[in-house]
């Protein structure tokens, strides 16, 4: 069957590529309340990313870089634009992405070591995740060439495919493109000889080997939009899903005319779209069973916002998960890192830093 006819047929019958379905959260992704029961370390407005250098824990919130000292966040330095991504290595270097358009390498006192604004000859626009790959190279994911990091929802609604992942070697002053044309790249990870990245709008992860050979996707389609990652000391890695999928949003994403009018006529905060947090305004769209009934929001209602972190094995299997369900409050998890035997998580939706105890196997105690 010709592909255009197949597409028309699928669209007519709601099949194939036009099937409005989402993967179920069962098995290892069965909902729990682990994120809601996590210890709240501190509340920090605009908190976004977190990184560990093995000794200290670094936080970014707005345009300020913080260091965690016990239960307090100490300001280390302040930039002129918001920090959109953060990474730290054991040699005392810290990498920040500023306004999504610049990568800057600084030392522990805040002095600039190196900086760049391009990736393989193209300007950075929405750098949203960083990871040190070696002593002289840094991995970066650039979500979109059209929208800034705060406008990720615009990119989703426009079916953005301009994300890219690259490597910056600051000693050689070279940049290499590892993947291009991605449906919002949001998260990179140096995992041994592999470079992994999240492709949010495709709900999956990609990877490339040391010899820069793209590897087949071995992570099943996820029930959420994947974002930043961190290595797990027990093997595999932690993966955050900053928002979750619903059938209603999947439907809206297929209705081009509706979406176009919605973008033109409705304020973004009231779009039928996922969000990092919800329930603060009665003007939010009523999303399926997400509407409160008799004053009660059911935990299993379709989520406008949700908290989800997955523990993924090296072979791509999800082996455990932490959740903050629809009626929870720790939604919009954008970053995760292991530090001193604990798991630290950034809930951007609730502007909180969370901590979860890990057991000896590296899983949630």
């Amino acid at each position: 069957m010709p592909s255009s006819f197949q597409r028309w047929w699928d669209r007519l019958l709601g099949r194939g590529t036009a099937a409005i379905t989402v993967p179920i959260m069962d098995g290892a992704i069965k909902p729990n309340r682990a994120l809601d029961e996590a210890t709240v370390v501190l509340e920090l407005p605009s908190i976004d990313d977190i990184a560990s250098d093995g000794k200290d824990l670094w936080l970014s919130a707005g345009s300020v870089l913080f260091r965690l000292d016990g239960l307090q966040a100490l300001e280390v330095c302040r930039f002129e634009v918001p920090i959109t991504a953060l990474a730290a290595d054991s040699n005392g270097l810290i990498a920040v992405a500023l306004g999504g358009r610049e990568l800057r390498l600084i030392d522990a006192e805040g002095a600039t070591v190196a900086q760049t604004r391009v990736l393989a000859g193209r300007a950075l626009h929405s750098a949203n995740a960083l990871a040190f790959e070696s002593v002289d190279s840094l991995l970066v994911s650039d979500g979109s060439e059209h929208y800034g990091t705060d406008q990720w929802c615009h990119d989703l609604m426009q079916h953005g495919k301009s994300g890219k992942v690259g490597r910056w070697n600051w000693k050689l002053s070279t940049t290499t493109l590892l993947a291009d044309g991605l449906g919002y790249a949001f998260g990179v990870l140096a995992d041994g000889a592999l470079v992994r990245w999240s492709e949010s709008w495709k709900h999956t992860l990609g990877s490339v080997s040391e010899s820069q050979v793209a590897l087949p996707v071995n992570v099943a389609e996820l029930p959420g939009y994947p974002s930043r990652m961190a290595l797990a000391h027990g093997g595999g890695f932690w993966l955050t899903c900053f928002v979750c999928r619903t059938q209603l949003v999947e439907f809206v994403l297929r209705e081009d005319a509706y979406r176009k009018r919605m973008i033109e006529e409705v304020h973004p905060s009231q779009w039928v779209a996922p969000a990092l947090s919800s329930g603060k305004s009665f003007l939010e769209p009523l999303q399926g069973a997400g509407v409160k009934t008799m004053g009660v929001l059911k935990p299993w209602a379709p989520p406008r916002s949700y908290g989800l972190v997955l523990r993924v094995a090296d072979d791509g299997r999800v082996i455990s998960s932490l959740h903050s369900q629809v009626d929870g409050q720790h939604h919009g998890i954008t970053a995760v890192v292991e530090h001193a035997g604990d798991l630290y998580l950034v809930s951007k939706g609730s502007a909180r830093l969370l901590r979860v105890k890990l057991n000896s196997a590296g899983d949630v105690a």
């Binding site: 099949r15 179920i24 098995g27 290892a28 099943a220």
Partner: protein
């Protein structure tokens, strides 16, 4: 025969009633009584003995021992006709009406005069239905009626036959909420006329709403009979499932839970008419996934769609993914080719060729998978395959040439299982694998299911018997009203928790 003393106003009584099938008691020493004009709910899990008890009452099966009294007089029901003569009628879940005949003809079926004038029959039926305040047109063919109206006709027929005791088997299973309300009114109407009603139901809220008294059966024994006011949901569930585990076959608690492998099968937002409603689930390799639910919860239909035996909704029917790839089968053979085996719950109708031998039946499974291009069937190969699987599954028969219909239920089931396993499937769906199977064979079938999971196959066990699900499964999915509503890890599941999820 001496007339024993009985309680006043008791219209039906069973004393020490026992019914055995092949030495195995289906009900044992049951003492039950039904009062005049009372609504009596009979509750219990599938296999608890409710159907046997009611079949005894209406003379479908005779008692092995014990006594039955109607209006204080000991009676011996040999046929349903005897029961009817004693004023006892039963309304089955699937009505016993003749669909091609009109309502009036059905009403008077078996009571026809020598000469019948159709107009007269219609007038009599109209008068009678109006006297019951039943809004049913007597001239309409029964096939045109909805489920509730069919129930009405059944009830009317029972009243017409002077039934003083009416037994309903799952009367509301196929009714819409509006029809249910209408049905409840009918039952109260019958009660006001002095008719005694026994109704079997899985819906506890209906029992608590309708009944004057509630009896709970478990494993063929009467656990409790009490007034409705002394029951609440929790007490009923406790009585239904709280068996002494040490005395059952499934007593062993699952201590070792297998870890999930690859997600082999993923069902997403599946829809199929009114039976499956936006159902989603995953099945993992190397695990037994148990699916529990009451009758009508859409479990079987979901997996029949997976196996290509039923069709999902034409528009927006959802997706089924096998190892991440969408599948949609026009015929079941395509599913077999892809390594999906569905082992039916109704082996006598769908499971085997009854006049063929064990070996031939098993060989048919192999032919179904590979096809025989040359049209040649190898008798030697059939014997070889039959011998191998008969030994592996311990099929007990005098020889491999015995017809399957001549085997016991357990051995028939083993042949049905072998017929699918010979295809070397990767996903094996067992639907009620031990229904009507003797105790020895149950253990062997369970061992085979565990062996398959240990080999890394993705195994699904659909069962209405809670202890079986709990003994076998590594994870338990609970279905209700057409979709999976919750999931339990085997080491965290409790009977009460599962039953609560299945009902609420």
């Amino acid at each position: 025969m001496n007339t024993p003393q009985t309680l006043p106003d008791v219209v039906l009584e069973l004393r020490d009633a026992t019914k055995k099938y092949g030495g195995v008691p289906a009900i044992e020493n049951v003492n039950f009584n039904l009062r005049r004009g009372e609504i009596h709910a009979l509750l219990g899990e599938n296999g608890a003995g409710k159907s046997t008890l009611t079949k005894v009452m209406v003379g479908v099966v005779p008692l092995s021992s014990g006594q039955m009294l109607v209006e204080g007089k000991a009676v011996m029901m040999k046929t349903p006709l005897d029961a009817r003569d004693h004023g006892i009628a039963m309304v089955f879940q699937e009505t016993g009406l003749v669909p091609s005949m009109t309502v009036a003809q059905n009403l008077f079926l078996g009571r026809e005069k020598f000469y019948n004038r159709l107009r007269g029959v219609y007038i009599s039926a109209q008068q009678f239905l109006q006297s019951l305040n039943f809004d049913v047109d007597p001239t309409v063919s029964v096939s045109m009626l909805g489920a509730a109206k069919k129930q009405m006709v059944e009830i009317a027929r029972a009243v017409l036959h002077d039934a003083r005791i009416i037994i309903f088997d799952e009367p509301t299973a196929s009714l819409t909420p509006e029809e249910k309300r209408y049905f409840f009114d009918l039952v109260f109407n019958l009660k006001s006329r002095g008719v005694s009603v026994i109704f079997i139901s899985h819906a506890l809220e209906e029992a608590l709403l309708l009944a004057d008294r509630i009896t709970v059966l478990r494993d063929g024994q009467l656990v409790v009979t009490d007034d409705k006011v002394n029951f609440d949901r929790a007490r009923i569930i406790q009585a239904m499932v709280g068996r002494d585990l040490s005395q059952t076959l499934y007593g062993q608690t699952k201590t070792e839970v297998r870890k999930p492998g690859e997600c082999v099968l993923s069902v997403r937002n599946l829809r199929m008419a009114a039976m499956v409603k936006n159902n989603s689930l995953s099945v993992f390799a190397g695990q037994v996934t148990g699916v529990f639910g009451l009758v009508g919860s859409g479990r079987t239909e979901t997996f029949k769609v997976v196996a290509g035996l039923m069709k999902r909704d034409f528009f927006h029917g959802g997706e089924v993914l096998l190892r991440g790839k969408p599948i949609r089968y026009r015929v079941a053979r395509q599913a077999v080719e892809d390594g999906i085996a569905y082992i039916t719950e109704d082996r006598k109708v769908e499971g085997f060729f009854e006049t063929m031998s064990i070996a031939q039946n098993i060989y048919m499974g192999l032919l179904g998978k590979r096809g025989n291009i040359r049209g040649m069937v190898s008798g030697a190969k059939a014997t070889e395959v039959g011998d191998f699987w008969s030994k592996l599954l311990k099929v007990r028969a005098i020889s491999q040439d015995v017809k399957v219909i001549e085997l016991s239920g357990g051995n028939q089931q083993k042949v049905v299982i072998a017929k699918s396993l010979v295809q070397n499937p990767e996903v094996i769906i067992f639907d009620e694998p031990t229904r009507g199977v003797d105790v020895g064979a149950i253990a062997e079938i369970h061992a085979e299911i565990n062996r398959l999971a240990d080999e890394g196959k993705a195994v699904v066990v659909i069962s209405s018997y809670l202890p079986e699900v709990m003994a076998l499964s590594d994870r338990i999915l609970v279905a209700r009203q057409g979709k999976v509503v919750t999931e339990f890890a085997a080491d965290q599941a409790t009977q009460e928790g599962i039953m609560y999820a299945a009902i609420h």
